[in-house]
């Protein structure tokens, strides 16, 4: 029997507002612990929350970007539970009346588009950060003591819940890449998994292919890169298939993904189900965004990544278009092509060389990049790499690198190639007897002789030509 994974995602996005969700303490990283706090975010007696208007507007905008309906009447609710990172004893979240519902995101794919439903996107506050000291590193169990830093507590957080519309680890990754790019382009969050400003939990189940049943699902947490998410889902799908196929039953469970080993560790099972005793937050009034505001925010949305992928796909291909757009590279690509570069070559240089060199695409001059792309075959490789690496420097000019083009003239390396070949007669014989791996040896010798200035591609063609002659 073949099995189909059924995956839904819960995504938490930190909004990069200047101040917290329910008080006016600054939001930011790196401050000394518990210096960005006040009576409200420390839950002193009598302190009251006041909702952050910008956070509400950004959530509406994010909801609109996800194709959601924006509620005319949304309500904050209290989610009650005791934990030291939750100072009020409840988290202010949204429950039955969230701000954004019923959206969907199209992920362009080579076998047709994947449509991922967005069940809801709601606004809540983040918990404080805890540091466990002693015991097993980073775990509360067995720690000598725990320290709580309330600086993060109260940071605005949007929770996005997808429908279980994702059916492969790779689709999960592609959806998330697209989603992340949309969020970053809205300017509402840095959405960086390493920093924890984007967090993803996956709900995973499997079912016989072709069926539409929903079997028991498990949850995977603690995955801090898109690749780990794909690997975590893959591992859990395999585990569940094995359980079903051996006649067992999948139990509801929560796992942590251990990146180092690529394995899933079950969290300690709880004795009883959570009962958060949600009820409407009486300290806040309902959110009733005016329709004019919603329409103004809709009109201000940037062109969506999906629309741009579609447009670029017609000029290149889906894969390159997706990489350019989800990498935030498509604007530079368009401008570089407009400046005269070949479209495919520009895409390759941008997605491989430029990204590989860690250059900020926002700092690159498309005109200079276009010059490099057009001259890439004639400039010596080291010079080209160096030029690419420096593309982000202020006042970068490609011209000094283009001037090195003359060195790569075929006329120049030819005598050097001949000299190298005659000095290595044994290797020449071996090559002619089928040891073609020696090509690299000859090219290397020539490059060494020219101090790396020759174009290795041209040298390699020359060597092959001479040896086959």
């Amino acid at each position: 029997m073949s099995w189909e994974p059924v995956v839904g995602l819960e995504i938490h996005v930190h909004l990069k507002t200047k101040t917290k969700m329910f008080c006016r303490c600054p939001v930011g990283f790196g401050a000394a612990p518990n210096t960005q706090t006040c009576p409200v975010c420390l839950a002193f007696p009598g302190a009251l929350p006041v909702a952050n208007r910008v956070a509400v507007e950004w959530t509406i905008q994010l909801g609109l970007a996800l194709g959601c309906e924006i509620a005319e009447h949304a309500v904050f609710s209290r989610k009650n539970y005791f934990y030291y990172d939750n100072p009020k004893g409840y988290q202010i979240s949204q429950y039955d009346l969230p701000l954004c519902t019923n959206g969907n995101v199209l992920v362009p794919g080579s076998d047709g588009d994947l449509e991922v439903g967005i069940v809801r996107a709601h606004l809540e506050e983040d918990a404080a950060k805890t540091v466990h000291v002693g015991g097993r590193a980073g775990r509360s169990q067995g720690a000598d003591y725990s320290l709580v830093d309330f600086n993060r507590g109260g940071t605005p957080l949007v929770e996005i819940v997808t429908a279980p519309d994702i059916h492969s680890p790779d689709d999960a990754k592609r959806f998330l890449q697209l989603l992340r790019q949309a969020i970053v382009e809205l300017g509402v969050s840095d959405a960086e998994m390493e920093k924890g400003t984007l967090r993803v939990d996956a709900n995973v189940s499997v079912r016989p292919a072709g069926s539409d049943e929903l079997r028991t699902r498990t949850e995977i947490k603690n995955m801090n890169s898109f690749n780990f998410i794909a690997r975590g889902i893959e591992a859990e799908v395999e585990r569940q298939i094995a359980v079903w196929e051996s006649g067992g039953t999948v139990e509801p469970q929560t796992f942590d993904f251990e990146a180092s080993s690529g394995t899933l560790t079950p969290r300690r099972a709880k004795e009883e189900a959570d009962d958060y005793r949600y009820f409407p937050e009486p300290d806040l009034v309902p959110l009733e965004p005016a329709r004019e505001l919603v329409e103004r925010l809709r009109a201000a949305l940037p062109e969506s990544p999906v629309t741009r992928i579609r447009r670029i796909e017609s000029e290149l291909d889906l894969e390159r278009a997706t990489v350019l757009v989800t990498g935030g590279l498509d604007a530079l690509w368009s401008e570089t092509v407009a400046a005269g570069a070949d479209d495919v070559a520009a895409a390759n240089v941008i997605t491989n060389n430029l990204v590989g060199a860690g250059v900020d695409p926002g700092e690159v001059s498309p005109e200079e990049l276009a010059k490099l792309v057009s001259a890439r075959k004639s400039i010596p490789r080291p010079a080209f790499d160096e030029a690419v690496a420096k593309l982000g420097d202020p006042d970068f000019s490609a011209d000094p690198y283009l001037a090195q083009e003359a060195v790569s003239d075929t006329a120049e390396p030819e005598p050097i190639v001949e000299a190298i070949l005659s000095a290595n007669a044994d290797q020449v014989d071996a090559f002619r007897n089928g040891k073609h791996g020696l090509l690299g040896f000859f090219v290397g010798q020539v490059m060494k002789e020219t101090q790396g200035k020759a174009n290795p591609r041209i040298v390699s063609e020359l060597v092959r030509e001479k040896l086959s002659g």
């Binding site: 009576p39 007696p45 009598g46 009650n80 009820f279 009486p282």
Partner: protein, 471 residues
């Protein structure tokens, strides 16, 4: 020392005039009240602490201990906040400070304002100035008894289901529970957020109106506040011509209303008629029957959540344990008294999965019906009248062992609290030698009407607010 001040009789308005005319200095006035406290608080135990050298040259004030005061310990009558000194002022404390009113001290309250007698205070009960063997009412018994005993010209209380109005009735003074949303709750230790409301306690309706004008109005730190639709008018004149007074049958005929209370209230209603008011009967069919059960679902539910922050992590006493959970359990077990524990359990249950719809959800629907029922009544009437408390002050210990009997003290104040409406209690006579309170209930933002009618009736009734034993 200038004029000799009889703090038992001096109203805030009169004190203000003395200060303005320079006949008395602020320091002399404060000293008079500190002397009264020294003389009478040993018996009455209204103050949990006094402020040695308060700031401000205006008419002094006392604040119920649920109101956060920067630099002055605020315990809400609970051991779990013993030693807690707020690093910030509540908005109402800031407003009275800005108005130049020096803080004499913090007054006793049932723990977290949960109670009707102040017997639930972790720091011991307050006593009624009319008869120290009796309770002053609650939860704001400390503020109310302090006003009657001349230990402060006026005070602030907080009212969730009757905690301003009922103590004012039992101590024979004036207490206003304002329209929900007109006074900021920021910095007021929360009991039940959708019901809590701060208001004035005073000797006269005009004093109450004056203090209300100081504390009322929108506060950007409390999203549930609004700007007053009209300014506060200090009441003048005795005519009630054209005022339509409704007498809700259910609130005036309820089981448990003492005959002496009923009689005093009926006389007050007759006086209102004599002043030109049109008096008519009306009905609030669900108010008494469902008000109490509805309140005892909603208030404990919100309290169970509001009191979750007292975990020993950030402030207040901590009882250590071998784990976080154990530390929290021990801290809360030691820190909370029986009444908060009872209400936390009730409220947790009412919000639990599977019970929410039947309890909390249903109570909210009933609340909506009560709001509608009151709104209907106010289409025919400008205000409603009934007793504030079904009984006069009861003996200390009399109801302490019977929570339900205690809860029934608020049966007449609770319905309008649930409806978010303003209520004013004024003394309307004596029964068994103890004060009886008349409750005037207004429509939303109807404070000016309550002040006008309360003021006129106050004059007509001529109640002497000084307890007989001190005359």
């Amino acid at each position: 020392m200038g004029a000799v001040v009889d703090t038992l009789r001096l109203t805030a308005e009169e004190a203000k005039a003395l200060l303005e005319r320079g006949e008395l200095s602020g320091a002399e006035l404060r000293e008079a009240y500190f002397e009264a406290i020294a003389e009478r608080d040993g018996e009455l135990h209204c103050f949990l602490r006094t402020v040695a050298e308060p700031d401000g040259e205006g008419v002094p004030i006392a604040l119920k201990d649920v109101i956060s005061t920067k630099g002055v310990e605020t315990t809400a009558g609970s051991k779990i906040l013993a030693g807690y000194v707020p690093p910030f002022d509540s908005t109402v404390a800031a407003r009275v400070k800005a108005a130049g009113l020096p803080l004499l001290g913090k007054t006793n309250t049932d723990e977290f304002a949960m109670g009707s007698s102040t017997e639930n205070s972790a720091w011991g009960p307050s006593r009624n100035p009319w008869d120290p063997n009796r309770v002053p009412g609650g939860s704001g018994g400390g503020s109310s008894a302090a006003v009657t005993a001349g230990m402060t010209p006026w005070a602030l209380g907080s009212d969730t289901g009757g905690s301003i109005k009922q103590p004012s009735a039992l101590c024979g003074n004036v207490g206003l529970r304002p329209t929900y949303g007109t006074v900021s709750r920021y910095g007021v230790v929360a009991f039940a957020s959708s019901l809590d409301q701060v208001g004035p306690v005073a000797k006269t309706v005009r004093d109450a109106a004056l203090l209300y004008s100081i504390i009322a109005g929108r506060d950007p730190c409390d999203s549930t506040t609004v700007e007053l639709p009209e300014p506060v008018r200090l009441p003048e004149g005795d005519s009630l011509a054209g005022v339509r007074v409704g007498v809700p049958t259910e609130l005036n005929e309820a089981e448990g209303i003492e005959p002496g209370v009923k009689e005093a209230v009926e006389q007050a209603i007759a006086l209102a008629q004599g002043l030109g008011a049109e008096v008519g009967e009306c009905s609030l069919p669900r108010a008494v029957r469902y008000g109490m059960p509805c309140y005892y679902l909603i208030a404990p539910a919100e309290a169970s959540s509001n009191l979750a922050r007292y975990d020993g992590v950030r402030y207040g006493p901590r009882v250590d344990g071998s784990s976080y959970q154990e530390m929290v359990d021990r801290t809360r077990d030691e820190g909370f008294g029986d009444e908060p524990k009872r209400r936390i359990m009730l409220g947790t249950y009412a919000l639990s999965a599977g019970y929410y719809d039947a309890f909390y959800g249903q109570a909210q629907k009933v609340r909506t019906l009560l709001i509608q029922e009151h709104r209907d009544a106010f289409e025919r009437f400008d205000l409603l009248v009934c007793p504030t408390s079904p009984t006069v002050a009861f003996r200390i210990g009399e109801r302490a062992a019977d929570p339900l009997a205690m809860y029934l003290s608020d049966v007449l104040t609770i319905p309008s609290c649930l409806a978010g409406l303003p209520g004013l209690s004024i003394p309307c006579g004596l029964s068994q030698g103890l004060p009886v309170g008349l409750q005037l209930i207004g429509p939303q933002f109807g404070e000016n009407t309550l002040f006008r009618v309360g003021h006129a009736l106050e004059h007509a009734i001529g109640f002497d607010t000084v307890p007989e034993r001190w005359r």
